[in-house]
């Protein structure tokens, strides 16, 4: 009997659990799958360890899906209710927009923090260069090693590549 590799066991288990969940709670599974479609797609496409973008999108999508799920569960958990909810464009748009917001949050927050850090580093470099220039002027200390860039922005403070 062929043995399954350890790294592939988890998706199999996850798929099995999802199947069991879909069979046991079909209205909920259908509604969640429909509302979280963008997150599921990103989840399948993202290759970064831990899938942070998909995770952030899923959490935002689940936040938007909380009210439709509550409606479903409060009305007897029927498939008709699921279809009625999915037929409401506002419900689907809200869930998908929330996931879009999650995507924006996951992509823009690193850029924002990097920009803040770059500005702080540049100010620090300027202060240090001014202090060294004063020392050179006052004490005749030779200029720093030319290999050390003192007039340009630190290269490491460039925008973060995703």
């Amino acid at each position: 009997m062929p043995r399954t590799a350890p790294g592939r066991a988890l998706p199999v288990v996850q798929g099995l659990l999802c199947g069991i969940f879909a069979a046991a709670a079909t209205p909920t599974a259908l509604l969640a799958a429909a509302l979280l479609t963008p997150s599921i797609g990103i989840w399948l496409l993202e290759r970064e360890p831990g899938r942070p973008v998909a995770r952030c999108m899923a959490l935002c999508g689940m936040a938007a899906a909380a009210f439709p799920l509550a409606t479903l569960w409060g009305t007897g958990h029927r498939l008709e209710t699921t279809l009625a909810l999915l037929a409401d464009p506002a419900t689907v748009a809200l869930a998908w927009a929330a996931q879009g917001g999650g995507w924006l949050l996951a992509e823009m927050l690193p850029l924002l923090l990097s920009a803040v850090s770059t500005l702080q580093a540049a100010a620090r470099v300027r202060a240090l260069q001014a202090a060294r220039a004063r020392l050179e002027e006052e004490w005749g200390i030779p200029p720093a090693n030319p290999e050390t860039p003192t007039g340009a922005m630190p290269s490491g403070t460039a925008p973060v590549q995703t």
């Binding site: 936040a63 949050l105 690193p110 006052e138």
Partner: protein, 682 residues
């Protein structure tokens, strides 16, 4: 007995070591800062009859004084500082005592040093051309020459000073039939102008500058020789070279050699026999000569002179007695050492002279230094000791040189730097030969001590750097010798002269082209500083940086420029320029600029004392150096911080991205929680 060569050393300081007061211009009337305040010197023409030196007529500024003469001091012949110090203020009618000594602007405007003394009262007994005069009668000799000269010698002896310049052209008639007056003898080393015939052989065998102060007995000898010359109307042994004069005196005795069978009057003959005695201790003292009859009656038993039946050849010279052998060995040291090493000398002394004791001493002297004879120094010490044993009256003889120990200073002053005798003199000092020589002549009175004993001389000689060696020794032994550095152009005799002399050099049209110090000047400064020179001077040498050299010189010269002294702007600028090479030692640029500004202002004022603190600021330099080191550390810290900010390895990029994604996840999770709670609540 007082009338011997030991006279000056029988008491302490004055005769041999001039007091500091004499060297201090304000401490003694004998040494002046400038003769212009004392007299006016007529430089139009030298005086024809001055007694030997180049002299000019001088007129005193004070009324009541008679005519004066200014005798020029030659650079290679330093004056007798100790004698002038001892005779300051002496009023002796039979003597031209020194009145002052100091610098004056000479015929060409060049500053020279002069000894001022009274002008001769009349013509000399003989003029300087060597043409003899008419023979003198015995009565005239005793009345007009012997008694007044003896009285002058008594006055000198009382002050522990010798004259050492008694010769016919330096004895002056005070009146047509009056007594004689002893001429000046202070402007040159003692006996340096005396002919060989007028001096004892143990003096004339030395170079003119190395004859030492001697004793009053040497003056008695010279006076006796002058009496004989005046009686004969000619110079005894005229025409003979000095070596032959000495050999004849050593062979047959001075009196016999000088008189050469001439019949003398009984009184004069007895006096001259005593005055021309070979042994200084057998000559009558000057006080006794004042009464010729008493001096005649004083007869001292004379040791019979041994003479060999067969001569011994030393080189080309046949010798007949121990004294001639000593002199021949002194003149030909290589032959002497060979005779000593082969045992020929002691064999000849034992067999030909019959003196077994002296022969044994010669053997001992040769054996004593046989162990290190190969080094040269041991052989010379052996020869020196052998000569002293052979003739205890002889001077110190070393490698062909003969000198009295206190004549070492003038001898060094008279030698050129390239003179071949200089290495021999250095070897003699290094071997402390004078100590060994004195130990080989027991029973003989010690000669006048030099200004420095043998050990001190050796210490100075072996001192490395510019404060040691023969230049230092030369200046230490000659307190009135002018500095020979080109930087002072012969115008500095005392420390206080250095500033003005260097100012003149610095202000010359060509301007100074060399460093402001050289070995001669440093040796001069070290010798003239009382006590040991400071560590700054002692540290100077060929490798000293110019700025350190200038700073050291500034430290020495600044105290010498008194408050009332004229400013020396050229010298100050010279020193500031040279010391300014060390501006780089000041790191703080603002402080350096301030110091340069202060130095320029101080140099313009010409006050070295104002310039000194600008450069001699050890505390400021130390603080500047400490601050500089702190600045370097701060710069290193800044460089490290800049490198850390620009180092790609240490950049927080990926961490920052992960953190941002985690924050985003947390925000989303919080939103989910809020919505879940809100949905559950309905």
């Amino acid at each position: 007995m007082a009338a011997n060569r030991t006279m000056p050393q029988s008491t302490s300081a004055p005769a041999t070591a001039p007091s500091l007061g004499f060297l201090n211009p304000s401490g003694s009337p004998a040494l002046l800062e400038s003769l212009d305040a004392f007299c006016s010197i007529d430089f139009t023409a030298p005086q024809a009859e001055s007694g030997g030196g180049i002299a000019y007529a001088a007129r005193p500024h004070r009324a009541g004084q008679g005519g004066l003469q200014a005798i020029c001091i030659q650079p290679e012949a330093p004056p007798r500082a100790a004698a002038m110090a001892a005779l300051a203020g002496l009023a002796e009618p039979g003597l031209l005592a020194p009145l002052a000594c100091g610098p004056a602007a000479g015929p060409n405007g060049a500053v020279g040093w002069y000894v001022i003394c009274p002008a001769p009262p009349g013509p000399p007994l003989w003029d300087g051309s060597g043409v003899p005069g008419q023979p003198w009668s015995e009565a005239d000799l005793i009345t007009r020459v012997l008694r007044p000269a003896a009285a002058a010698l008594v006055a000198l002896e009382r002050r522990r000073v010798t004259h050492r310049a008694i010769r016919p052209n330096n004895l002056f008639l005070s009146a047509p039939m009056g007594p004689v007056v002893l001429g000046e003898a202070w402007s040159a080393p003692p006996a340096s102008r005396q002919p060989a015939v007028l001096e004892p052989p143990y003096v004339s065998m030395c170079p003119p500058s190395a004859r030492g102060e001697g004793g009053i007995a040497d003056d008695v000898y010279a006076l006796g020789a002058v009496l004989l010359a005046l009686f004969l109307g000619r110079m005894p042994m005229a025409g003979l070279p000095g070596t032959q004069v000495i050999l004849r005196k050593l062979d047959s005795g001075c009196f016999q050699a000088m008189t050469d069978g001439v019949r003398l009057p009984p009184l004069l003959g007895d006096l001259l026999a005593a005055m021309l005695a070979d042994d200084p201790q057998r000559r009558p003292p000057p006080a006794l000569l004042a009464d010729p009859a008493a001096a005649r009656a004083r007869r001292v038993a004379k040791r019979p002179q041994r003479r060999a039946s067969q001569p011994l050849l030393v080189g080309e010279t046949p010798v007949w007695n121990d004294r001639m052998l000593a002199y021949a060995m002194a003149r030909a040291p290589q032959d002497g050492m060979r005779l000593l090493r082969l045992g020929v000398a002691d064999h000849w002394v034992r067999r030909a002279l019959g003196d077994a004791t002296l022969a044994a001493r010669l053997e001992d002297a040769a054996r004593h230094h046989a162990a290190d004879a190969a080094s040269g120094e041991g052989a010379q010490l052996a020869l020196c000791g052998a000569i002293a044993h052979l003739d205890p009256l002889a001077p110190l003889c070393w490698d062909g040189l003969a000198l009295w120990p206190d004549g070492l200073g003038p001898l060094l002053a008279g030698l050129d730097p390239q003179d071949p005798a200089l290495p021999r003199v250095a070897a003699m000092v290094a071997a402390e030969a004078s100590t060994a020589w004195a130990a080989c002549r027991p029973g003989q009175p010690a000669p006048p001590p030099p200004r420095l004993d043998a050990r001190a001389q050796r210490t100075l000689l072996q001192d490395r750097g510019w404060t040691g060696g023969l230049p230092r020794l030369r200046y230490a032994l000659n307190p009135l010798l002018a500095c020979r550095s080109k930087l002072v152009q012969g115008m500095a005799v005392r420390l206080v002269d250095v500033v003005l002399a260097m100012e003149a050099t610095a202000g010359a049209a060509s301007g100074p082209t060399a460093l402001p110090a050289d070995p001669e000047l440093v040796a001069f400064l070290a010798a003239r500083q009382h006590g040991r020179p400071g560590p700054g001077l002692a540290a100077l040498g060929p490798g000293t940086p110019p700025e350190e050299l200038a700073l050291t010189l500034l430290r020495v010269l600044a105290p010498l420029q008194g408050a009332g002294a004229p400013p020396a702007p050229h010298l100050a600028a010279w020193l500031a320029r040279t010391a300014g090479g060390g501006w780089d030692a000041w790191h703080n640029r603002a402080l350096r600029a301030l110091k340069q500004q202060q130095a320029s202002a101080a140099a313009a004022s010409g006050r070295l004392a104002a310039l000194l603190p600008v450069f001699d600021d050890t505390a400021g330099r130390r603080a500047d150096e400490a601050a500089y080191q702190a600045a370097l550390a701060e710069a290193a810290r800044i460089d490290a911080a800049l490198r850390a900010l620009t180092d790609p390895v240490s950049l927080p990029g990926s961490g920052m991205r992960t953190l941002a994604r985690d924050v985003a996840g947390a925000v989303a999770l919080a939103l989910l929680a809020v919505c879940a709670v809100a949905a559950a609540a309905g």
